[in-house]
């Protein structure tokens, strides 16, 4: 690697009288000052915005390192919901509503935890609370998936899908909240994203199949407004579990 690349070799003094520093100059200190400037990273606009909103530059940085907010994951989410929007507009079946909870649940399970976040063990010893990192990341993943889901719903509606926008939106948004909360609680308690993912997907599959066996329609789980309150109550219970599981008890017992 050249000196220019590492930002250090430029300071190499050529041999000669002018290359000798005066005795009262501490070259190490000078070098550290230069290195601090050369190596300093400039946060992007999104990080600066998040830092201001969260009042914590560390939390903002942790948010932008969320594994399930990386570009590849976002592209995969867009592809799945885009396919769902296309299928919804062609068949009239609310596929966006049916696949959005599962996609978001997977994103939440892979937002934080051992084996998912490379430096998770270290993060647990940091002043920026690991619980705050977990909650902020979960909120960001959920928010992004909600926006993408809304966009997919809008595309499907614009393409002539039946059903009101409100029904379609709340039909998947509320179950998505419940599935995400379950994935978060399971991943937090088991300390495994795979367990969270399995719990979220299994619960959603069981719910869909139960709805089908009870009514003959597998879409009833996202179209029956009577289910909204149970979904919300379930989500609140799972969130409480995740909250409790991230508490650190006092050092005595």
């Amino acid at each position: 690697m050249s000196g220019a690349e590492n930002g250090r070799g430029d300071l190499t003094f050529p041999r000669g009288t002018w290359g000798v520093a005066p005795a009262d100059v501490d070259l190490s200190r000078v070098w550290l000052g230069v290195a601090a400037e050369v190596w300093a990273r400039q946060p992007g606009w999104l990080e600066r915005l998040a830092g201001r909103a969260l009042r914590s530059p560390g939390l903002a940085r942790a948010l932008l390192t969320t594994p399930s907010l990386l570009l590849g994951w976002v592209i995969a989410t867009v592809a799945v919901l885009g396919a769902g929007a296309a299928a919804t507009s062609w068949t009239g079946t609310p596929w966006v509503a049916l696949c959005a909870p599962a996609v978001a649940g997977a994103g939440i399970a892979y937002a934080y935890g051992p084996g998912i976040d490379p430096a998770w063990e270290l993060s647990c010893s940091m002043a920026v609370s690991d619980r705050m990192v977990l909650l902020v990341r979960a909120l960001a993943v959920f928010g992004l998936d909600a926006v993408l889901g809304l966009a997919a719903s809008a595309v499907a509606l614009a393409a002539g899908s039946s059903g009101s926008a409100v029904t379609v939106t709340f039909g998947w948004l509320v179950p998505m909240t419940a599935v995400c909360a379950l994935a978060l609680a399971a991943a937090t308690v088991a300390r495994s994203a795979m367990v969270g993912l399995a719990a979220g997907l299994a619960a959603w599959t069981i719910t869909v199949l139960s709805g089908q066996s009870a009514s003959g329609r597998f879409t009833v789980v996202v179209t029956d407004s009577a289910l909204i309150l149970p979904y919300l109550a379930f989500a609140a219970a799972c969130t409480a579990v995740a909250w409790y599981a991230t508490l650190i008890p006092r050092g005595t017992s």
Binding site: G7, L32, A36, G58, T65, L122, T252
Partner: protein, 248 residues
């Protein structure tokens, strides 16, 4: 005393990893020796506030880590190098160290200078802007040490810090430890007896979750004299003699 531990135990299901440990230590380099599975890493993780004790009392830097506020304050003044440290492969060395400086809630204006100092102290200045995915195991270990010392911690916990370092780097690292130990409490968990002999002012030997010896390296060496214990070096013979006695 920066570390005050009384009767601390930690269970994982039926397995008791740490069984009633008492420990007090102030500034200096403290070596935590013991065979694999002795409970060193679990004890270090409790001191790093990653996991909580199952029972017992613990005070770090004069605070109870069980309360949110005190724990946050401890973590600001803590440096921790886990046994297996994960890395973000797309980060550069400087970015990785800066990330943990941010998570330690260092004042943003101080961070660039602190990052440069920490990276230089582990002799990675030439690699500061290199992606972590391109570094060797020994260099990654030094990156881990840099993030641990970036906030000039008052309590520094290092789990097998010399794993993967070549002999030259280990000598340099021991000098760094001695320097850090003048101001801070440095606790080094290792199974390499020579690291303890070269850098530590105090040493504890753990076996089966308990501390079976606590003293100076010279005292540990003395325990091996005249016992015919196994080991190539005097300190190793002391280590073997204490372990044999504890298990008999």
């Amino acid at each position: 005393m920066n570390v005050e531990i009384t009767g601390v135990t930690r269970r994982f299901g039926r397995n008791q990893a740490v069984a009633g440990v008492d420990l007090e230590t102030g500034p200096g380099v403290f070596g935590l020796l013991g065979p694999n599975g002795a409970g060193k890493t679990t004890l270090l993780r409790m001191m790093a506030t990653v996991i909580s004790p199952s029972s017992g009392r613990m005070r770090l830097l004069g605070r109870d880590p069980g309360g949110y506020g005190p724990r946050r304050e401890i973590r600001r003044r803590l440096g921790y190098l886990p046994q297996s440290l994960g890395y973000y492969p797309g980060f550069t060395v400087a970015e990785f160290v800066e990330y943990f400086a941010l998570l330690k809630e260092m004042p943003p204006a101080r961070i660039p200078g602190a990052v440069a100092a920490a990276v230089e102290r582990v002799d990675l200045g030439r690699k500061a802007r290199v992606k972590l995915r391109t570094l060797s195991g020994g260099m990654l270990r030094r990156v881990g040490i840099a993030q641990a010392i970036v906030n000039e911690p008052e309590l520094l916990l290092l789990d097998e810090p010399t794993a993967g370092l070549d002999p030259e780097q280990r000598v340099a690292f021991r000098a760094l430890l001695r320097d850090l130990g003048q101001r801070a409490t440095v606790i080094v968990s290792t199974h390499l007896v020579e690291d303890v002999g070269a850098a530590c002012t105090e040493v504890a030997l753990m076996d089966a979750g308990k501390i079976v010896f606590h003293g100076t390296p010279a005292e540990l060496t003395a325990r091996g004299e005249g016992h015919g214990a196994a080991g190539d070096a005097p300190l190793e013979r002391g280590y073997s003699a204490v372990l044999a006695e504890a298990r008999s």
